[in-house]
Symmetry: C2
Subunit: 342 residues, 2 copies
């Protein structure tokens, strides 16, 4: 089975200084993997010269003369950057030369380009972003995380259909528990979109468990595998969690660096604090998948370091190996056919 | 100056076992404070018999024969519970016998009853819920936290006008920095309500600093005093933060209780962990104010313990002492008059 991933090697806050070492580490760990690094040949070639003999045709460069800036408006990137590392990396997926693409570049430009090049699946109105977050029960998948500011009930339902296939495939569970994010668990709560989406989900074959609240993402009483919400709420919620984790981390660090006594305690507690940090390390959850497109695109956090970018590449590997896009495509076509019959 | 607060003594998950000790502790700490505990006399009297001689007329019971259940629909509570501890406590504010009311009861019923009894301020369409959250810079105020699932730009603007007065008064700052919660800091981002609200705020005399993202609540790069959002987003965000904090706390505890070595480290680190916990203890941030009404109502978390409920009473004391409701009323009337002139 082919497992070739194209990497936007110039994307992200740190470009090749992060993408190249992460790519090489992934090649080392998975001998079935082939990578195409897309970007300025003059920059990439010297960084890879020692790796070529090691990995042979599993490691290739695809030249691209431009790159998309992190703050460039998506429409401008789409119009003026037809030879950007981002665009060329996505083209490789479209051409069937790569099974997935990973980029740490500008989210808006990546989404717009992916949508333009790969096109939407029939039956899906909007692409959506899904990612995994740690929870006390293991982890939770959540979508949409920011692709769509306003969503109808139908959009939320489509997200659930797509997310369900992804979670089934990569978590290897038969019937993921799906919750709708709301401000209370009672039926009367929520806005009209959410209430109508609840009805669509109740009448579907999905394992819909009802409304869940914000705390269910990381540590609620309700165990849920997939949380569905609109992109505005999802993005604010995700970033609120990031901010809370950062504040708690900072406060913990400050408490341990107050005076020599607390510093001594830090030395004793170091192995524990290290194992604690590893369990909730956001770098180990890096990588969001764009669903609804005719091809797989994974977005890495722009500020990703080598470990985080590696995680995003590994997510692409897992999704390719589990045929996530094929499964979503089949299901969307089946559900759509089923629904038009009603 | 009078400082009399009515307490819904029967409200919350724990009722008088929490509200009574918290009330007595507040009376002990502030000799200017008077409290009226509202609830079943037969239950409250025995609990207060020893305190009456100590606090004299600073401590009173107001009998109420009913209580609102935690999961009772607001409309039912409004119709059938006219002699509930919650309703009578709010009546006392309406009658001018109390300057504020504190309840840990059912949020929906409390809001509906407060709105029915106290009425809205002229110029305000919707009441909103504001609370304080810890941040690396100190703290941030945020509203609406769940009273309104759908908000227009005008509603968001009204929230900002009210919140601004509250923050000025209780934080003693001249010109609070106000941010609109959005999914990016660029002008093009966001939904229509948020974009239009941004224009209203830019054209106002408020110190509007622009869009802020979810991480700005606790630990963003942008320092902000007041974050404005609709109640759906605000509630999800608040609960997401609660969930993240709970997960991190649980993970930290697990890491320290793994084996005898980590338990030994916990003993050494105990004073540090304790001081860390105190700095972000959610009980010290308990209490949300309902703004937009002709009277002050503070909502405590339903699951509040004595320390948390004390915090909510103290918040009421501070807001009464700073004439928050009077200041908001004046400002709303002034802004409204100014705006109709445009």
């Amino acid at each position: 089975m082919s497992l070739t991933i194209s990497i936007d090697a110039m994307g992200g806050d740190f470009g090749p200084s992060v993408t190249v070492p992460a790519a090489l580490a992934c090649l080392k760990e998975n001998s079935a993997l082939a990578l195409i690094l897309v970007g300025d040949e003059a920059v990439l070639e010297p960084l890879l010269v020692q790796a070529f003999p090691v990995y042979g045709n599993r490691l290739q460069i695809q030249h691209a003369s431009q790159q998309v800036d992190m703050d460039e408006p998506p429409s401008k990137a789409l119009k003026n950057k037809k030879d950007s590392s981002m665009r060329v990396a996505i083209n490789l997926v479209h051409q069937g030369r790569a099974d997935a693409c990973v980029s740490a570049g500008n989210t808006g430009a990546l989404m717009a380009t992916a949508r333009f090049v790969l096109k939407m699946l029939n039956g899906i109105d909007r692409p959506a972003i899904i990612s995994t977050l740690p929870s006390v029960y293991g982890h939770t998948h959540m979508m949409d995380l920011g692709a769509n500011v306003d969503c109808t009930a139908e959009h939320l339902f489509q997200f659930a259909v797509m997310g369900n296939e992804l979670v089934k495939a990569i978590d290897n569970i038969d019937s993921p528990r799906i919750g709708l994010l709301n401000i209370g668990e009672e039926a009367m709560k929520g806005n009209e979109q959410v209430k109508t989406a609840a009805k669509l989900l109740e009448n579907s074959s999905l394992n819909y468990i009802g409304y869940v609240e914000g705390n269910s993402i990381n540590a609620g009483n309700t165990q849920v595998d997939l949380i569905v919400c609109d992109g505005f709420v999802g993005n604010v919620s995700l970033k609120s969690i990031e901010g809370a984790a950062k504040m708690i981390g900072t406060t913990l660090k400050q408490a341990f660096s107050k005076n020599w006594l607390t510093k001594l305690a830090a030395v004793v507690a170091y192995p524990v604090l290290k194992s604690f940090k590893q369990r909730i390390d956001p770098r180990l959850y890096n990588g969001a998948s764009f669903l609804g497109l005719r091809g797989l695109v994974i977005k890495s956090h722009g500020g990703a370091d080598v470990l985080a970018f590696k995680t995003a590449i590994k997510l692409a590997e897992v999704e390719v190996q589990h045929n996530v896009i094929q499964k979503i495509t089949q299901q969307v076509e089946a559900s759509l056919a089923q629904r038009t019959l009603l």
